[in-house]
C-alpha cells in the first residue's frame, strides 16, 4: 500500500512518526500552513514558518524516504488578527516554489468578515499562480461554513476541480459532491471522521474526487489514520486498486494540477507528475532512513 497523506502537520510530529509512517506505506505528504495552537504575533513568525516548510521539514522528511510538499496561506484563525495582514504580501514568493502545491489552508473558522476577505484574496492568488486551493471548513457551524465556501469558490471563477474542501463529514459531503470540488476527510481518533464512517461515505458516494488525510498535528491525532482507513476499506470489501486510488492516485491527481509536485525526482521536471508517476510505487533519489 502506497500512501500520499494530503494533509498532515509534520512540523508538530517526531522522527518516530516519520519512521512508522514510512513503515505503513506513506511515501509523500502535503503539510498545509496552519496556526501553532496559539497565536503568532508578527509577520516575521510566518516567514520563518514558511521557510521551515520549504526547507528543514522537507529535508527531515526526505531522511525517512518521504517526499514533503506544503501549501501556504494565512490560516482562517489568524486571518482575524490585524497584526498579520502583511502575511498576504509574503505569499507570492512562496507560491512560485517547487513543492508548494496549493494555496491553503484558507476558509472559515468563525465566519467573520475578515476571514471572508482573506479567503477571497487567497482564491485570487491561486488563480494568479495557477495553483489549487485547500479549503478548511469550520468545526462549528460546519454546514453553513461549507455552503458559504462553495459560494465564494463559484464566484471566484476558479474551476471546481482546482479546489479541495476539507474536513467534511456525512452532513457536508453531499453539498461538495454536487459542486464538482474535491472532497477531503480528516480521520481523527475522537472527533471529525473515523475510518469506519469514512468507508461508509466511500460506499455511498464512490471514489471519484475523494481524498482522505490524517490531519495529524500537535493535538490528539494519529499519523497512521490514512493507513488505517486503507485497512478498513479492505475489510469492507474494497480491492487494492480502490485503496490505491483513494490513498495515492487521488491526492496526486489533485496536487499535480499545481505542476509543482516533487515526486518525479529523477526524471524530467517539465513533465506532468501524474503521468510520470502513476504506477510507480517507489520514489527515487531518497536517502534511506
Amino acid at each position: 500500500m502506497r500512501i500520499f497523506d494530503p494533509h498532515i502537520h509534520m512540523t508538530s510530529r517526531t522522527t518516530d512518526d516519520y519512521q512508522v509512517m514510512y513503515d505503513a506505506g506513506v511515501r509523500a505528504v502535503t503539510e498545509p500552513a496552519f496556526w501553532l495552537g496559539q497565536p503568532r504575533t508578527s509577520v516575521g513568525s510566518f516567514k520563518d514558518y514558511f521557510d521551515g516548510l520549504v526547507g528543514w521539514e522537507r529535508f527531515r522528511a526526505a531522511q525517512f524516504g518521504i517526499r514533503h510538499h506544503c501549501t501556504v496561506a494565512l490560516n482562517p484563525k489568524e486571518a482575524n488578527d490585524p497584526r498579520l495582514a502583511g502575511v498576504l504580501d509574503l505569499l507570492p514568493r512562496y507560491l512560485a516554489k517547487d513543492g508548494v502545491v496549493a494555496v491553503g489552508e484558507t476558509g472559515f473558522d468563525s465566519m467573520t468578515e475578515a476571514e471572508e476577505t482573506i479567503f477571497v484574496r487567497h482564491l485570487g492568488l491561486a488563480a494568479e499562480h495557477g495553483l489549487p486551493v485547500l479549503v478548511h471548513t469550520p468545526h462549528r457551524d460546519k454546514a453553513e461554513g461549507t455552503r458559504r465556501s462553495l459560494e465564494l469558490v463559484a464566484a471566484s471563477g476558479l474551476p471546481p476541480e482546482m479546489v479541495l474542501i476539507d474536513h467534511l463529514n456525512e452532513v457536508t459531503v453531499g453539498l461538495v459532491a454536487e459542486s464538482g470540488c474535491w472532497m477531503g476527510f480528516s480521520i481523527y481518533p475522537d472527533t471529525k471522521m473515523d475510518e469506519h464512517r469514512m468507508v461508509k461515505v466511500l460506499a455511498e458516494y464512490g471514489l471519484d474526487r475523494m481524498i482522505v488525510n490524517s490531519a495529524a498535528d500537535w493535538g490528539r491525532s494519529d499519523p497512521l489514520k490514512t493507513a488505517k482507513t486503507g485497512a478498513a476499506m479492505r475489510e469492507a470489501g474494497f480491492d487494492e486498486d480502490a485503496v490505491d486510488r483513494v490513498l495515492w492516485r487521488n491526492p496526486v491527481a489533485f496536487y499535480a494540477q499545481s505542476g509543482r509536485l516533487l515526486l518525479d525526482e529523477a526524471g524530467d521536471g517539465a513533465a506532468d507528475a501524474t503521468a510520470t508517476f502513476e504506477g510507480n510505487s517507489i520514489l527515487r533519489g531518497q536517502r534511506p532512513a
Binding site: 521557510d51 520549504v54 526547507g55 528543514w56 522537507r58 529535508f59 514568493r93 512560485a96 516554489k97 517547487d98 513543492g99 505542476g259 509543482r260 525526482e265 529523477a266 526524471g267 524530467d268 521536471g269 517539465a270 527515487r284 533519489g285 531518497q286 536517502r287
Partner: protein, 204 residues
Amino acid sequence: MSAEHTERLFPLAAEVAADPSRLRVLFPAVGRLVGRGPTDPDDPEGLRVPRIEDRARAALVAAVAASSRLSPTELTTMLTELYEDGDGDEKRAVLRALDDVDIPGLLGLVEDGLRSNDPRLVAAAMGRYADRHLGADVWRHGVLKCLFVGVPLDAVAAWTGRVDDELARMTAAFVAEREAAGRPVPEDARRILALYRPHPEGER
C-alpha cells in the same frame, strides 16, 4: 545536462540576461522549466557533483553576471535575496553558482550554509568560492562538519592543498571521539590524516 536540458535553459538564460529582474521569478521555477535530477547516478543528492537544477540555476546567475546589467552591489543584493528567500534547493544553487561567478561580499551565505544541518547545503558551501575566500578557521570547521554530517571530502574544493597542523589535530580528535564511542570512523578522516605530514622538529 542533456541537449534537451540545454535547449530549455537557453531561452531562460537569454531572458535573464536581457532583464535580470526575471531571475527572481525564473530561479525558483528552474526544476519545472528545465529539469531536475542527479548528473551522476552515484551521487543522487548532488553532494560531489551539482545536480541538473543546480547547474541550470548557476547558468542563469552566470548569464545575469555576464550581461553587466547589474552593478556588483546590485548583483550581491540579488543573490543574497535569492538565498534568503530560497528553499533548500535554491539556497544550494546560489552557493553552487558562486563556484564560477566570483561575486564579492557573499561569504555570509557560505557561513549560513555551513551552520545548517543539511548535507546538501554544507557540501555546496565548501565549493570553490569557499576555497578562494574562506578564512582558515571557518574552512577547517567546514571540513570537520563534512566529516560529521557525511559529506564526502571530495565535495570540498581543493582540500588536499589546505590540510594543515590544526586540521590534522581536529581530525585526530574527531577520530578519537568516534573510536571511544565505538562508532565507525569515516574513511575521509583517515585520508586527511594520511595526507598530513607533520613538519620535522625545529622547522615550524
